[in-house]
Amino acid sequence: MHPSLIFDMDLYHPKPEHKELRELVGTLGQDLLEKAARHYDEQENFNEELLRDFGRKYSLFGLTVPLEMGGHGLDATAEVIVHEELSMYDPAFTLSYLAHEVLFVNNLYHSGQDTLRQKYIPPALKGEFLCAMAMSEPQAGTDVLGMKTMAQKRGNLYILNGTKQWITNAECADAFLLYARSGPNRKDISAFVIERRFKGLRIGKKEAKMGMRQSPTCQLILEDCEVPEENLIGRENEALLHMMRNLEIERLALAAMALGIARRSLKEMITYAQQREAFGKKIYEFGQIQHLIAESYARYRASRALVYETALCVNPQERQSLSAAAAKLSATQMAEFVSRSAIQVLGGNGYTRDYPVERLHRDAILLSIGGGTNEAMQKNIMKDLVQLENLDI
């Protein structure tokens, strides 16, 4: 019997809404993403209209935004469910969903003052505004506080100069949540909402990538970019908190994507191993194939439990950097292993684009880099562990 029936508690659906959400998103993924995923990967082309429809038609933005602001008043678990389900079918589309929903909408709602929320959240929820977040720079990735983009106050404007790198959705985004240096100290970082139409903003080259090819990644160039002072999010030099807080839910959502990739890879290899024959046997009867599948399954289940357990405690009010980093580190390595194992189980077929596993593997690798590399997660975990008072782990 499923434990949820015994304890009246279901880690994967703490509330009835979570089940309905999973069902809706699963149906949309299967019907709208599955067939086209290969096409968009091969064309390196983004299904922008469908992402806008996620707001316009299916109201799937603003999961963590309260009802009064047009959102759903849900939680980190809801984000995990959506990212997990969509990634079963198309991780690249899901990455673009994440950039809009988690990196912009969730962050602006929880860090912004009411005037900015009123102005940008409703159009973002309806898909009229497609959004992105710009933190990384050509010379500052892991070392994010080494960013060089400068914001200087002039009259009632901020003038921004610098270059942002690896910006998901930049190609078509209508607005950006952008971090810039605003004072002499390393931690003097401020955040702004920058509209595409603002003078001095230019979208640079689009990257040619290994995976996540549907999701457009571009440079952003700011040359005396003019930003009205009311577009400063919160107060000057206080954006480090926004950044750290939002990175937790971002890491959780990326970990959830890893779960979706792993679940799909497992389904593919379990099915294939029961059909394919060699030496007069089904290949799942071979110990080495059992090893690949069983190891994948056990690691998937362990990461899934960790990610959903972490989701229960990630919220804007408290810091959970240790758990979020552990969830991302565990799930992303697991997804690389599981998707790679799926290619192995499928043999030559696994290496072709007729089966989805090679794409899932290429996409999985990004999850170990974006939102903080796995090395950065290891660094953060150690930093948090040495600060624990009584080593209550």
């Binding site: 809404e17 309905e20 959400l21 809706l24 149906t27 949309l28 019907d31 038609k57 299916y58 109201s59 799937l60 759903h72």
Partner: protein, 254 residues
Amino acid sequence: MNILVLIKQVPDTEAKIVVSGGKVQEAGIKWIISPYDEIALEEAIRIKEKTGGTVTAISVGDDLVQQSIRTAYAMGADHGIHIKHDQYQMLDAFAIASAIAKAIEGRDFQVVLAGRQGSDSDNGQVPLILGTLKGWGVVSFAKKVEIDSQKATVHVEAEGGEAIYESTLPVIITANAGLNEPRYPSLKGIMASKKKPIEVINFADLGLGTVSRIEILGFEPPPPRPQGRFIDGADPAAKAKELARALREEIKVI
């Protein structure tokens, strides 16, 4: 324009149906709105979006059918009526149509939409009987529907072409595949659907008595399909020869 949609809840078309003890075993079945009814519902919502008015979904069954009424809410229906009958599997089309006719007495519907048939029993009778009981016209198998305040124009596939019917209102129209592509509900719609009240009418309170004219004695699964047979032979010519012999001598069809 007030539109009524007849909704039947059926097992998911991919569900594995298990019959034992003369009954369909319902445990573990995923229930959905019958696909043709979903098309009818979509059409009703589109008409409402164009011309205003309301859409009411009505369903006969046990408490489980409230799920389908909620799905109808999530897609855009305004009201839902549940005619409650715990042994609804034993009701025939006449009983169901009579219950609906009775339940909507005194309510103002100009258009009734329904699927051409339920995807489980494929009877396709309820809308026709309802039309007879109410004295309303029925147009079946619609592939295009236009409604104005006076009349309905319904396009129907016909041998080698298309038949176009015009009807006064009220009218009952059954939906064929291809009439439209039903929408997915939105998350907002799903959340709101949970808070909307459903009007419940007890079948027994309708005063119909024992109205079924057909008694269902039991359900039986279809017999398992017999094993296929492979025709052996050294080459295609030999196989063809053996096939012809078997057809002539054993099965005696040629």
